[in-house]
Symmetry: C2
Subunit: 217 residues, 2 copies
DNA sequence: TGCAAATGTTACCTACGGTAACAGGAGTCT
DNA sequence: AGACTCCTGTTACCGTAGGTAACATTTGCA
């Protein structure tokens, strides 16, 4: 196997151990993307052409491997989100661009998304593999990131820092849940979803009138 | 092989099978709330005073048991949410009441919350995602429920049904993520969180001005 | 009484995460 | 050279989990 394609770092300056670790991570990535989040350590080892104990020497336990794997993807996603978020544009455009960036990412690589957001818990009795250690970090990091941008660029008056964090996590959760639902059912185009969510954030819920002939009111 | 001999009993009396099933479910509930979502079938059987195969005869597999367990709590939570949602009050008050109901529920019983939000759907050899198939996650049901209420009571013009679903899932996700973060860090009171989220939904993000001296803008 | 169904058991299987214990190869120090 | 260490790699094994087969027992009812 000559899969020497390294993503960004310079291979000639990496120690052998680091290069090996990277190879293993890429093999793990292939397996996880093929077999889903429940991929077994044996399968990953087989894909890498080696056996289990080596994986354990490199990553400690399954949680370590999955954390390393998740970190790569979350960092990449966060970087692109930050770009959309920090763009010099009007607020609504930034919001729409960020929503679209996120949705495009999960649309382009749903397997990665499923791995990051819905890790397998395949072995309930395990020692220390918890969803909170993987999916929560991504959502939390996105929420904190967004909170910083809000607090930095939006004038919210007193208590702004706390409010910005509430909004950051809330908006991220909105994006995540809507994206998850959308990815499963595909009830509309991505652009329509982005518009709908942006409209929601822009107060259209408050502005809309009551429906005539509502039940019992 | 399936006959109706059990259903022809009087409706006001539960069959022995149903009573047994209920007992098992309550035992499972105790164990799950004590040991977390990773509770083993053996532990549940022991708590119920019986052995594994009986559980499997009643619920098929672990997923079945967990689905039955989740359904009970989900139904209870959804009922109280629906009450807040359908109250004859102004929209903002209904929104705040619903948010508060949800947050109060997860605050009162975080164990139940953790179980519902992270159900151990780990099925060996899953090779994909059956999410939304057997154990319709709580978030989805809440999203659909909210969408119905929105579509029913809010005048959204053309495309209202689709937009209502987008908003339903989005708002539920916002509530969920903010609640999850809040439950972990407790950065403010419940009432403050409710106000912050309601303000967000009421378009305060769009109404707020840009902050003076923002970076590069 | 007899018979079928439901309830219960023990014992076992497979698969997974995780861990010894051991075998070689490449440098390195004396 | 030889010994010493570090890294890679192996086979074999353990404990526990989900899930099932086969057998024993009670129950309900014609």
């Amino acid at each position: 196997m000559e899969t020497t394609q390294l993503t960004d770092q310079r291979a000639d300056q990496m120690s052998a151990a680091e290069r090996r670790r990277r190879e293993l991570l890429e093999a793990a990535d292939r397996v996880v993307l093929r077999d889903g989040p429940g991929a077994s350590m044996n399968a990953i080892a087989a894909e890498a052409g080696i056996t289990k104990p080596i994986l354990y020497r490199h990553f400690g336990d399954k949680g370590g491997l999955y954390a390393a794997l998740a970190t790569r993807h979350t960092d990449a996603l966060l970087a692109s989100l930050r770009a959309a978020l920090d763009a010099p544009a009007a607020r609504r455009e930034r919001v729409e661009a960020t929503l679209d960036t996120y949705l495009a990412a999960i649309e382009a690589r749903p397997q990665v998304y499923r791995f990051l957001m819905h890790p397998a818990e395949g072995s309930p009795g395990d020692s220390g593999f918890d969803v909170g250690r993987h999916s929560a970090p991504l959502l939390r990091r996105m929420g904190e990131e967004l909170a910083e941008v809000i607090e930095e660029r939006v004038d919210l008056g007193p208590g702004s820092q706390q409010l910005a964090r509430v909004w950051g996590h809330g908006i991220v959760g909105m994006m995540h849940a809507a994206g998850d639902w959308w990815l499963g059912e595909r009830p509309c185009t991505r652009a329509e979803l982005v518009q709908g969510l942006a409209d929601l954030l822009w107060g259209r819920l408050a502005a809309a009138g009551d429906k005539a002939g509502g039940p019992g009111f």
